[in-house]
């Protein structure tokens, strides 16, 4: 634990150094997010990231893993996810073979030997706990609001103790406390007991300058003027009554599409050809057309 703290302290002495190294990997974090990630690594404490879809929650975890030069272990949550999919499962087929083999050899077989590490299939949470370093793994528990409420309770031991319990083997403590990042799209309220164990950060839509800088970094081949036009158009689209206001991910998709089609300058016609990459509902297209494509393009 202390060794871990020291090695990470050397790597990340303060929030600014984290911001800089994140930027080197191609992720621009605002001061709030950088502080949140810094605390998650150094306290260490699980971090709950919330925000609208497409503001870069998942990307933040990926960038952090890259900065720390450590594996990113990702658990995508979904309705009905359970221990067998998140934590561990016994390799039944192999156990059966083991029984047969022992039979053929005429050996006696202890049941406990069937429930040893050899027959264990590691799922993401166990992988994160078992990670051998040198630095802790980054564990991304993505879209935790999609999992059932019961599943949250199941994460508590991991979040608080960095340990998991397998009844047949016992409690496994992490050699290197994994850095846990949870994301939620707020489709439902998470339980207070889960929130209590986590740091919290709300990622807002980036400001215009920040968005421009992010897109420029992610799509370096795009023309600078085009990038600023698209960033401005995205923030304009966010002001009209669309069902899904476009986030930074959509802005990046839009620039990619425009570059692919050889668009030099964003005008009404270019917007019309590429609108599908930024608005994903037919109704939203109608709203944008009503507002005027020329207005959207800023021409």
């Amino acid at each position: 634990m202390n060794v871990q703290g020291e090695s990470l302290a050397g790597l990340l002495p303060d929030v600014d150094s984290l911001s800089r190294t994140l930027e080197e990997t191609g992720y621009l974090a605002d001061p709030g997010l950088a502080t949140a990630l810094f605390c998650a690594v150094r306290l260490p404490q699980p971090l709950l990231l919330e925000g609208e879809a497409g503001v870069g929650k998942t990307q933040a975890a990926k960038a952090l893993a890259e900065v720390l030069d450590t594996p990113l272990i990702r658990l995508q949550c979904f309705e009905g996810i359970d221990a067998a999919e998140a934590l561990y499962e016994w390799n039944y087929a192999r156990q059966l073979l083991g029984i047969r083999l022992a039979e053929a050899r005429g050996d006696g077989l202890e049941e406990s030997s069937l429930f040893s590490r050899d027959y264990l299939v590691e799922r993401p949470l166990l992988q994160a706990v078992e990670h051998r370093g040198p630095r802790p793994a980054v564990l991304l528990i993505d879209e935790v609001d999609r999992a059932d409420e019961e599943f949250e309770a199941f994460l508590f031991e991991l979040l608080a103790e960095s340990a998991v319990t397998i009844p047949e083997i016992g409690t496994l403590h992490a050699h290197h406390k994994p850095i846990v990042i949870l994301t939620s799209n707020r489709t439902r309220d998470l339980h207070d007991a889960l929130k209590r164990r986590c740091l919290y950060h709300w990622i807002d839509y980036p400001t215009l300058e920040h968005a421009t800088a992010i897109v420029r970094m992610r799509v370096p081949e795009a023309d600078e003027r085009l990038v600023s036009q698209i960033a401005a158009a995205v923030s304009r689209l966010r002001t009209i009554d669309v069902q899904k206001p476009p986030g930074i991910a959509e802005a990046i998709d839009w620039v990619h599409a425009a570059v692919l089609l050889g668009v030099q300058q964003l005008d009404a016609e270019a917007v019309q050809r590429t609108l599908g990459s930024v608005l994903k509902y037919r109704e939203d297209h109608d709203v944008a057309i009503e507002a005027g494509l020329a207005w959207v393009s800023g021409a």
Binding site: P31, G32, L43, R186, Y200, W202
Partner: protein, 405 residues
């Protein structure tokens, strides 16, 4: 922000400072636990922030648990660390809930006798506790027999024809209605004697006892999970006689089924939290505070669109049974109602529309909003009396099992 934060342990006693700041936040309504304060202090020690802005982010990340707490945090932080108090924000007191839209409720269409004793209180805060006291003493005085026969008579009565005392009694009846959660198929599998799938884990366990040969087979099948129910009630002026009764039903559904509850007149208000805590009177008082458009005009289309944008599409309506209680009188554009209902129909598993006015013999769905909504409604019910409410509950139960059609 070049000003220096007064946070280094050399300059101030960190623990006392953090505790005082936490206390201030708690008074402002953000539940800061000692655990979180310790986390804040630890973060300050690690980073020793030099600017107020750095301290701001450390506190925000460590002390909060939700997005909705950010405005309060910002205000308290500014007061505490930047030394200015926003007077405009501070003058709003809880007592100054807008009273005018609520007063509109006083012009209830029917003469409800002694119901309105006070002058300008909201219909809920004044009427319900008043009703309550009177209703309860009345009930206790009555003999069991009389109560039973009265209940039976009342069960058939249209809510809009009931007196205040009768409504109080009805509240009891409504609260006693059996709420059975509708079911859906879960993703998980559980061992079951007549399951269709092989339970490998259990079969192999049993095989150890029979020398490794799987003699005894175990099966499993999908579990049943409760299906979400969403109740959206119209509390505009024209629905006034029904609104309070439905509030009782909503409170029961929120508490027993974990349903989501919304009301709307001119705007949409989510009531799930208000209805889930405290006794009924407390809950209704909080409802009156949070829905100032009570008994106002109706904007069904706007309210439903808002529901879909802010809640429904995020997941609340997905695969849920959505119950809308409204007479369909729309002051806005009926086309908006149609469009919102079409979207809702695609999201929800089953849409039930309850229109208490439809019990009348001469009823025809002519109200603009109603006509626009009907094509997208799976079940249409009246729900005007306790009997009719029983039908509604049965419809909710059945809708859970039915495959989407």
């Amino acid at each position: 922000m070049p000003e220096t934060a007064d946070l280094s342990p050399a300059q101030a006693d960190l623990a006392a400072l953090v505790a005082a700041f936490g206390e201030r936040l708690r008074m402002a309504g953000v539940p800061v636990t000692p655990e979180r304060m310790a986390r804040f202090a630890e973060a300050v020690l690690i980073t020793s922030p030099h600017t107020t802005s750095e301290a701001y982010w450390l506190g925000r990340v460590t002390l909060l648990t939700g997005h909705f707490q950010i405005p309060v945090y910002d205000r308290v932080f500014d007061e505490y660390f930047r030394g200015y108090v926003d007077l405009v924000e501070d003058t709003r007191t809880p007592a100054s809930t807008p009273a005018s839209p609520l007063d509109a409720g006083e012009r209830a269409p029917r003469d409800t006798g002694t119901q309105q004793s006070g002058g300008s209180h909201s219909p809920i805060t004044s009427a319900t506790p008043g009703l309550d006291a009177r209703g309860e003493s009345e009930v206790e005085e009555m003999s069991m027999l009389a109560a039973t026969s009265l209940s039976e008579r009342l069960a058939e009565r249209d809510f809009s024809e009931c007196s205040a005392e009768e409504l109080a009694l009805l509240r009891r009846l409504v609260e006693q209605l059996p709420l059975v959660p509708p079911q859906r198929r879960g993703r998980r599998l559980r061992r079951h004697a007549r399951g269709a799938r092989l339970d490998v884990r259990s079969t192999l366990r049993k095989a150890y006892r029979t020398g490794g040969d799987p003699v005894h087979r175990s099966q499993r099948r999908h579990t049943e999970r409760p299906r979400r129910v969403v109740l959206i009630a119209d509390v505009s002026g024209s629905m006034e006689p029904y609104a309070r009764v439905y509030l009782h039903l909503m409170r029961g559904a929120v508490r027993a089924l974990g349903s989501e509850a919304f009301v709307f007149a001119t705007r949409l208000t989510r009531l799930t939290r208000q209805l889930s805590a405290g006794g009924p009177d407390y809950a209704y008082a909080r409802v009156a505070e949070s829905a100032p458009d009570w008994a106002g005009g109706t904007r069904i289309g706007t309210a439903l669109t808002r529901f879909l944008d802010e809640h429904g599409r995020r997941g609340i309506a997905r695969g849920a049974i959505v119950v809308i209680v409204s007479d369909g009188w729309e002051i806005g554009d009926p086309r908006e109602v149609g469009e919102a209902m079409r979207r809702l129909g695609r999201l929800a598993h089953h849409v039930i529309w309850v229109n208490p006015r439809s019990a009348a013999a001469e009823f025809q769905p002519l109200a603009g909003g109603m006509a626009a909504a009907l094509p997208h409604v799976d079940t249409f019910l009246s729900g005007h009396s306790v009997r009719a409410l029983e039908e509604l509950l049965a419809a909710i139960r059945e809708a859970g099992e039915r495959r989407r059609g």
